[in-house]
């Protein structure tokens, strides 16, 4: 189960990359063509991945006859900004749980303290 989820997750990444670089309005067939022969993937697999991406809100789709055409819901840059924001929000909302480290902007005085502390550690363990 774990294995399968991971590989589907990897596929989502590749398919999103395709939507970003060759979009908008790609059909399942288009996505397969652009992904090239690097992977021997079934049509239904790609369809499933695109369906999942649409359900997650990462891709938008429009009807085209009997098929769907898919477009990335936001650009890679927008999504990267969202990711960064969600990191910061986690930190601020419940920084005790976010486990984010080293995200701070140290002041010059703090950096001096830091270097002094480092010198102490070096004296002891160096």
């Amino acid at each position: 189960m774990r294995q399968r989820n991971t590989s589907l997750g990897d596929l989502e990444r590749v398919v999103m990359d395709t939507l970003w670089s060759h979009g908008p309005e790609l059909s399942v067939r288009d996505v397969m063509d652009h992904m090239g022969g690097e992977k021997d993937l079934a049509y239904t697999t790609i369809m499933t991945v695109l369906d999942r991406l649409a359900k997650k809100g990462l891709a938008d789709r429009t009807r085209d006859g009997r098929a769907w055409r898919y477009t990335a819901a936001s650009s890679r840059e927008e999504l990267a900004a969202t990711a960064l924001r969600s990191t910061l929000e986690n930190v601020q909302a419940d920084r005790k749980l976010a486990m984010v480290h080293f995200l701070d902007d140290a002041s010059p005085a703090e950096i001096d303290d830091l270097r002094a502390a480092l010198a102490e550690v070096e004296r002891r363990h160096g």
Binding site: K56, S86, Q92, M99, F102, A106, E120, R124
Partner: protein, 307 residues
């Protein structure tokens, strides 16, 4: 008579552990020299506080002479209300946390570039293309360690090993569950009596515990260098690139800031805690856990005499 004493002890004990102990413990900075034992002590204090608080009212009505049944009901209602409050807090904190993590993991998986590292048992190690120098872990069933590209560039091979060992320790020792427990308890008490310093302190202790695990694996010097490399002097490095979107840095003083890193570094320059201190803290913690049970024993004894 025993009933009165036990009831009084439970109430005083509950009030003390809920209201005073978090503030008092947070101020004992010398406890930071033994982060593992001290975190156990924090858990013991928190759990015995909860038990004492839940037991106080029922014990009071059961042991005091009264023939009014509504008093008994009221006592159970008080305990039940506290229990419900605790469970609601647990549910809210837990679901919010898992939703945030799942959403963030989804973004990280789509945007990030996966790298292979043999020293990481996490499901994935992902590099994000942009942002401040950042390393963090996303705990849970599909755990991840996330590095920003800038962190990767800033760290030497040994320092990177240190950072990975630190995050891996968070994940394998399940510090997320520990901190979740404390957050649940924190949010369960009324806002005005919450001890924010206590939550900050247990967070720092978890960091120090992960630091120690990392230092055992890669040596204290590599870890110290990694901490300094990540924390120091990257002002103005972010932003300005790719479309000129400058990302706002986190507000000063809210995070594992320079001062917190300095504290963590100093812990490695200090003498290690002697064995008797560690044993002492451990013993106190166990005693604290047993305390509510011990208080109930004389009561059970006297009740059985009447039967």
């Amino acid at each position: 008579m025993t009933g009165v004493v036990v009831t009084a002890a439970l109430i005083v004990g509950a009030l003390f552990t809920v209201l005073a102990a978090p503030h008092l413990l947070a101020r004992q900075t010398w406890l930071r020299s033994t982060p593992g034992e001290t975190l156990f002590l924090w858990q013991a204090v928190a759990l015995s506080g909860v038990v004492a608080a839940l037991l106080a009212a029922p014990v009071a009505v059961l042991s005091l002479p009264t023939d009014r049944p509504w008093l008994r009901l009221a006592a159970y209602a008080v305990s039940l209300a506290m229990l419900v409050r605790l469970l609601v807090s647990g549910h809210l904190v837990g679901t919010d946390l898992r939703r945030r993590r799942a959403e963030h993991r989804q973004l990280v998986d789509i945007l990030g570039e996966r790298i292979e590292r043999t020293d990481a048992r996490a499901e994935g190690v992902t590099v994000l293309a942009r942002g401040n120098p950042t390393v963090y872990c996303l705990p849970g069933r599909h755990d991840r360690i996330v590095l920003s590209r800038e962190a990767l560039e800033r760290l030497g091979p040994e320092e990177l090993d240190a950072v990975m060992a630190h995050e891996q320790a968070h994940l394998s020792q399940r510090h997320d569950l520990l901190l979740e427990l404390f957050t649940v308890l924190h949010e369960a008490v009324p806002r005005r009596v919450r001890a924010d310093a206590a939550l900050d302190e247990v967070h720092l202790l978890a960091e120090m515990l992960a630091d120690r695990a990392a230092a055992r694996r890669v040596g204290p010097l590599a870890l110290a260098h990694a901490l300094v490399a990540m924390a120091g002097g990257h002002r103005g490095d972010a932003g300005g690139e790719a479309g000129g979107t400058a990302y706002p840095g986190p507000p000063a003083g809210t995070l594992a800031g320079g001062t917190q890193v300095t504290t963590r570094l100093r812990a490695f320059a200090a003498d290690p805690a002697p064995g008797w201190a560690r044993a002492g803290i451990f013993t106190v913690a166990v005693a604290q856990l047993l305390l509510p049970v011990l208080l109930l024993l004389p009561l059970l004894w006297t009740t059985s005499q009447f039967l």
